[in-house]
């Protein structure tokens, strides 16, 4: 009996799982992938002998030596006639409007040598000014090599005259035969396009214009149309709001999120009167993660909850039974709402008619109309009508449509049954940016310009008019819809002339309007919704009991509806919540996963796998959907993102994820049946740890504590060290000599964690500004993402050191439990880039001095000196350094994902930033090209740099103003005052790195 004890290292080993077996076989998991490095797929089975190899080696060395002696002849070709508005090397900026069928934003486009390379928020205060991740990425979509280049008629290449003749012939024939001529688009809110459509209507009695939105808002629009007489959604005004109650509305990630999140952040400046935000939702959304209080409910409970609140607040709505804990939570919310009457805003997500009616009634009851919910200032960017689309599909199937013109949308992908219906059209033409699912089934397909190539005008909201101008000549043989329609109605004006006429009819000065990107115009009186009518509407509805079974709620991540699915920047952008890339998946609560046998497994190399599920909604089945276990997911619900599962979008998007549209859910949620499928799905995640493990990485404080202790002593404790001279702060106790940071500039960055919503526009902006390579799903799975800026997401855990001490839980057990996020976790986001330490651990270990400190407080990285030892990355406490494992722009392994591998994609590269090669380290440079440019501009005009004269790409992209950048040696700079704020702290301050980046403590109004 001496020793038959078996020691096991983990539960996995005890259970003898596959992973532990593999680990035991090969402790240091991975072989060095030599064949991959040599980047030839066939090298492992080639017949190359060692002798041949040496021959090649000798030859290539000799060739390289010879080549090095002779410099290649480089030509330098000037313009023949140089445009006088252009100086090579100096950027030009143009105001325009970003629209992609889903979003709308007023932006400024930066062009270099005639190429748009970056979208920026601009400075004129137009409607929804600013950029989200999709807007930032859209400049790359311009250079998508999968775009349609030439018109094609009956699968044969054609030209525009033949296309227009064929279209006109078909339209005329339909008119003669008495069949319909239908134009199918997403929402049209362009005055000149509406006028062009009107002209067609006059020429063709059989003409119909059908609008639909990829992610439908049709039912909600019906409700508001019946209340106000205008088919438009009300705008929301957070500046007048003190309590937001949101039922699954992801308003911080919606199409108007730039304006809303800017107001949201402004209203959530810590202090008394801070906006309170309560979210009741099933999926853990970006908006829900920012909420002060989050309540988990099922989609089918929303109507009942709204009705309950209406009844609590003195209205009359049909009452339905609710689970006890929910009604209790709602009761306390009703109390809050009563005291904030007139300043409360109730929002609902999805597109359920009853929910929309009840929310309208509740808002009316709370006096929100005209204050927080501006039905008198409607937004026109959603106008879709699903009943008209359904009629069209019926007409198509009955062969009553002679001519179908689909423009700028993709109904075959967005609507489950459209592929069958479209065959019923006698002649169909797709005006499209690519040969997508719809265009493939059409008789003819023709390219339309990208928004950066075309003239357009918009009326996004009441009182707003804006003009979009081209910033580059058409890359391909495309024609704007305005001109195509013009050719049918005999209006041969160019798109620009049509837009100019539209602006002139509003009495606007063309040059000024063009310069500002738009103008405010009179909108005429729009009467707001009457509260009584809303209540009457709510009182008459019939409510079903909340369902017991599983429900699915669809949501949008950074890819949105999927118009830009083939954009690798968006595909590689980690989802803010799940931190997964290149995929969509079924988010599921841990308890449901356990009950149904779904698993998530972390492999020995750190990668994540998940089981597959088959899901069934009604008669529609979606197979092999990977399951991701999501903390905070309401039990009994699952979530699935729109926009994936493309089959004809291009090589980046095709085959990634599953199409949520295929489930045919128009209201955003439905009952679902789920069964387990065989196999495991390989996820690509960028974050493995989910909690802070008891450390103070994100400092957080409750509003009450913050207000009661403005000095921050109790909630922002600075680490101290015992030294021979007594206790010293991390800043004072240091081993190194200080740099001279007083003489020149000292660039610092402040990141306000209260304002940061985690939307990730900054990440894409950084990619665009700094030529950050796209590496593809495989490499992300290997944890080799290249993003210079990441947004860490932390969940709270139920375990804490205090609780462990109280309950007498041991260290190992405590840490094991700390790793597990709560079932209803609090969520914090923290953008982390190079912290530009003034005592940088990376600098001291670099053997070749490739990373050195500047006297302006920045940590420089000289790529050409770097020999790739990666000591710096190992020694970086913030893990912000990225290594170029491959030459991403030439290695054919990345040909499908890296846009810089083709001539079009390369056009988006910022010419002021080096494209890094294999074997070098890179990291955030604090946009040093912008710093240097700003200093030069100041010297050219002979002025000191005023605070706010320039900023870095991430700060510029941020709609909430969470990131502030500037010179702390400027006594009045915003960043200097932020640095002396009681909320300021450095990340891992106790390490003594003295970073130039600091964070402002998150304040939660809980």
């Amino acid at each position: 009996m001496a020793s038959n004890k078996v020691y096991w290292k983990s539960f996995d080993q005890l259970a003898n799982t596959e992973v532990s077996q593999r680990l035991a076989e090969n402790e240091f998991a991975q072989d060095i992938p030599v064949d991959v490095f040599l980047s030839e797929a066939s090298s492992s089975d080639s017949a190359t002998s060692r002798r041949d190899f040496l021959k090649f080696l000798g030859f290539s060395t000799a060739a390289a030596t010879l080549a090095a002696c002779e410099q290649p002849i480089i030509e330098s070709v000037p313009y023949v006639v140089q445009p006088d508005t252009l100086t090579p090397g100096v950027p030009s900026f143009y105001s325009t409007v970003y629209t992609d069928g889903q979003d709308y934003a007023s932006v400024l486009v930066k062009t270099r040598e005639g190429r748009p390379i970056k979208l920026e928020p601009g400075d004129s205060a137009r409607f929804n000014r600013g950029t989200n991740a999709r807007a930032q990425a859209s400049v790359l979509s311009l250079y998508d090599s999968a775009r349609l280049r030439e018109p094609s008629l009956g699968k044969k290449n054609s030209d525009w005259p033949s296309m227009l003749i064929a279209l006109k012939k078909s339209a005329d024939q339909s008119r003669a035969e008495g069949t319909q001529f239908v134009l199918l688009t997403s929402s049209v809110f362009s005055p000149s396009l509406q006028a062009a459509i009107e002209r067609i209507r006059q020429g063709y009695a059989n003409f119909q214009h059908v609008e639909f939105d990829a992610v439908s808002q049709s039912n909600t629009l019906d409700v508001w149309e019946s209340l106000t007489g205008v088919r438009a959604l009300p705008s929301i005004d957070l500046t007048a709001t003190s309590l937001v109650l949101s039922f699954g509305s992801d308003f911080l990630a919606s199409s108007m999120a730039q304006q809303v999140s800017s107001d949201y952040a402004a209203r959530r400046k810590p202090g008394s009167g801070m906006l309170r935000h309560v979210e009741l939702e099933s999926n853990l959304s970006l908006t829900g993660s920012n909420a002060d209080k989050r309540i988990k409910i099922k989609p089918s409970e929303v109507s009942a909850s709204l009705a309950y609140l209406i009844n609590q607040l003195g209205g009359s709505a049909p009452s339905v039974g609710l689970r006890g804990d929910l009604s209790k939570a709602l009761q306390s919310l009703a109390g809050e709402m009563k005291s904030a009457k007139g300043k409360t805003l109730v929002l609902v997500g999805g597109d359920d008619a009853n929910q929309a009616r009840l929310a309208a009634a509740l808002n009316g009851l709370l006096g929100s109309f005209g204050t927080t919910l501006r039905s008198d200032k409607p937004v026109y960017i959603r106008r879709g009508n699903e009943s008209r689309l359904a009629n069209l599909m019926a007409d198509l199937s009955a062969k009553r449509v002679g001519t179908l013109l689909v423009a700028g949308t993709n109904p075959v992908y967005f609507r489950a049954d459209f592929s069958k219906a479209i065959a019923g059209a006698k002649f169909s033409m797709a005006l499209t940016d690519r040969l997508d699912e719809t265009a493939m089934l059409c008789t003819a397909a023709a390219p339309i310009p990208h928004f950066l190539e075309a003239w357009a005008d918009y009326r996004p909201a009441a009182g707003e008019y804006s003009i979009a101008q081209p910033t580059i000549k058409n890359l391909f043989n495309s024609m704007p819809l305005l001109e195509v329609l013009g050719s049918l109605s005999g209006d041969l004006r160019s798109a620009k002339d049509q837009v100019a006429a539209s602006a002139a009819s509003l009495g606007l000065d063309w040059i000024k309007t063009l310069h500002d990107g738009g103008s405010t115009v009179s909108s005429g009186a729009i009467s707001g919704a009457p509260a009584a009518a809303a209540m009457a509407m709510a009182a008459s509805i019939k409510l079903a009991k909340p369902s017991e079974g599983l429900e699915i709620a669809l949501y949008e991540n950074a890819l949105g509806a999927g118009f830009q699915a083939n954009n690798p920047w968006l595909q590689e952008l980690p989802d803010p919540i799940t931190r997964l890339t290149w995929d969509n998946y079924l988010t599921m609560a841990a308890s449901d996963a356990l009950a149904m046998g779904f698993e998530n497994e972390t492999n020995s190399d750190g990668s994540l796998d998940g089981s597959y599920a088959n899901i069934k909604v009604g008669k529609r089945l979606l197979e092999n959907v990977p399951v991701f276990i999501q903390p905070g997911q309401t039990a009994g619900t699952v979530g699935l993102a729109y926009g994936y599962g493309r089959s004809a979008a291009g090589k980046v998007a095709d085959g990634g994820g599953v199409s949520a549209y295929a489930l045919g859910i128009l209201t955003g949620s439905a009952k679902v049946e789920i069964s387990k499928a065989e196999g495991m799905h390989e996820f690509a995640t960028v974050q493995l740890g989910h909690t802070m493990m008891g450390r103070r990485i994100v400092n957080e404080v409750n509003l009450n504590d913050f207000v009661s202790d403005p000095s921050g002593a109790s909630w922002n404790e600075k680490p101290t060290f015992h030294t021979i001279d007594g206790l010293k702060s991390a800043e004072e106790a240091n081993l190194w000599a200080n740099h001279d940071h007083e003489t020149m500039h000292m660039w610092n960055m402040s990141i306000d964690l209260t304002s940061c919503t985690g939307c990730a526009a900054c990440v894409v902006a950084c990619n665009a500004e700094n030529n950050v390579p796209v590496v593809g799903k495989e490499e992300i799975r290997n944890l080799r993402d290249m993003h210079w800026l990441r947004i860490d997401r932390y969940y709270s855990s139920d375990m804490s050191k205090d609780r462990a001490a109280e309950e007498n839980i041991g260290g190992i057990e405590m840490y094991a439990q700390m790793e597990e996020p709560s079932e209803s976790p609090m969520v914090v986001f923290q953008p982390v880039m190079c912290q530009h330490c003034n005592h940088a651990p990376c600098e001291t270990v670099c053997p070749v001095g490739a990373t050195v400190h500047s006297r302006e407080g920045l940590n420089h990285m000289a790529y050409n000196r770097c020999i790739g030892t990666r000591y710096c990355a190992n020694n970086c406490p913030y893990k912000v350094r990225r290594f170029n494992w491959f030459n991403y722009i030439t290695n054919e392994q990345f040909a499908d994902v890296n846009p810089s591998q083709d001539d079009f994609g390369r056009m988006v590269l910022n010419p002021d930033v080096t494209v890094r090669s294999r074997g070098v380290m890179e990291k955030c440079s604090m946009c040093i090209q912008r710093v240097q440019y700003a200093k030069l501009e100041a010297k050219k005009v002979g002025q000191p740099i005023p605070d706010g004269a320039f900023t870095v790409a991430c700060a510029e992209a941020c709609s909430t103003g969470a990131i502030t950048f500037g010179d702390v040696n400027n006594a009045k700079s915003a960043v200097r005052s932020a640095k002396s704020d009681a909320r300021a702290y450095h990340l891992l301050e106790e390490v003594g790195t003295q970073p130039s980046v600091f964070y402002l403590t998150k304040v939660r109004n809980a």
């Binding site: 000037p78 313009y79 006297r855 000289a862 400027n970």
Partner: protein
């Protein structure tokens, strides 16, 4: 400028002479007129035959007034040239105008061809003058020494024979000396060290020279001479390379910038060293390349419509690698560095070449030595109550001169990002 021209014209022409007229013509008329062909205005070679002197005096003095007076010929002329307006010259005296007219009659006097030596003779005459340090002299000297050596050896052998000793063979002698030297360890050590050092130095020089393209002087598609433009005609560098002040690129001028001058100057009047018309009175074939690029019809003096323009494909001389960021505006505009500091005596270059090494050592040496322009408002201006950068620099460096290096001009990230 106009005033200066007027003063010049008054002082220069005291009496009527074709020489004075030539000067006046060049100063006042040549931008629109030539003697032998139509430019913007008509050819003036035979103008005195076409018009009376009195008519010409009125026209040249103030043609607008003259036309207004209702002269039929003047108005017809104006109509013929589609209303191109000719400037008035109220400052020209009658004598001045007569001088100009005298010049139009006389034309450019050609130097007598016989006066110039034949090209072959010219080359032969120049050769000896350059032969001062010709290698032939050294060869002759070497041969002379060799002959001396052999003679001395023979003399020694003769002396030895006289003394009755055996005469030695030359080869044996060399053999003996070699053996002695080989046996001498110190010598051999010394020789080895010298050879090794020499070898290493040769390799070092070779390796350090890789990628340095100093004196790189490619053949350009147009035989453009900076010497003629920047040197002889004193055109400011910034006139053509205008973006050097604004942009990172100095910019190669677009063909339309060339046309600002070459619309009028087509090279037909260029004379060579001997005073002959270089192109025999024809347009310069090099300047015609610009016309071909931009589509200028020099006969009709119009840009051809629908012409497919062909950009001029210059060969880039200064090729900084992509990893180094260089900004011309920073140096030219903010740093007030002369173009010649880096580009050398461009105004003397017939064909442009790379003057500097363009190595990193060369860059940072300059950054170490060059003082910043502290008077620039960027340094000197105070903002928002903070001390100006100039004040802070003086606080730190006191009386030392403040170089680019002192403000961080040697930091990697200033040029590499």
């Amino acid at each position: 400028m106009l005033l200066a021209i007027s003063i010049l014209s008054i002082t220069a022409a005291a009496e009527v002479s074709a020489d004075a007229g030539k000067k006046l013509f060049k100063a006042n008329c040549a931008s629109c007129h030539k003697l032998d062909k139509k430019l913007i205005g008509p050819a003036l070679g035979d103008v005195t035959q076409r018009r009376t002197e009195e008519w010409l005096l009125k026209w040249i003095r103030n043609n607008a007034e003259f036309r207004a007076s209702g002269d039929a010929d003047a108005n017809a002329l104006f109509a013929e040239y589609k209303g191109s307006i000719m400037q008035a010259f109220p400052a020209l005296t009658d004598d001045d105008i007569k001088s100009i007219l005298a010049y139009t009659v006389e034309g450019d006097k050609k130097a007598a061809p016989a006066a110039a030596p034949a090209p072959g003779a010219d080359a032969a005459a120049q050769a000896p003058a350059e032969g001062g340090n010709s290698p032939w002299l050294i060869y002759i000297l070497g041969a002379f020494l060799l002959v001396n050596l052999v003679l001395l050896f023979r003399v020694r052998n003769t002396l030895k024979q006289i003394n009755g000793e055996n005469p030695t063979n030359l080869l044996e002698d060399v053999d003996f000396i070699t053996r002695v030297l080989i046996a001498n360890k110190r010598f051999m050590t010394f020789l080895t060290v010298v050879l090794a050092l020499g070898f290493l130095y040769a390799i070092y020089s070779f390796l350090m020279g890789i990628g340095i393209e100093k004196d790189y002087q490619p053949v350009q598609p147009i035989a453009f001479s900076h010497k003629i433009h920047a040197g002889e005609n004193g055109v400011d560098c910034n006139y053509c390379h205008s973006s050097a002040r604004h942009s990172k690129h100095s910019g190669i001028p677009a063909a339309n910038v060339c046309m600002n001058c070459h619309m009028y100057i087509d090279g037909s009047e260029v004379v060579d060293a001997s005073g002959n018309l270089k192109y025999g009175g024809e347009r310069s074939p090099e300047i015609q390349k610009i016309y071909a690029a931009i589509g200028w019809d020099p006969e009709e003096r119009v840009y051809m419509e629908g012409y497919e323009q062909k950009p001029i494909q210059w060969i880039r001389i200064h090729n900084l690698p992509d990893l180094a960021y260089f900004n011309h505006a920073q140096h030219v505009n903010a740093g007030k560095v002369e173009c010649q500091t880096c580009h050398g005596p461009v105004q003397e270059m017939e064909v442009a070449y790379q003057y500097s090494e363009l190595t990193m050592g060369w860059c940072i040496n300059c950054h170490r030595e060059t003082e910043i322009k502290g008077e620039n408002g960027y340094y000197a201006g105070a903002i928002d109550g903070s001390a100006s950068i100039s004040d802070r620099l003086v606080d730190r460096f006191h009386e030392e001169k403040i170089t680019v290096a002192n403000i961080g001009g040697l930091e990697c990230g200033k040029c590499h990002y």
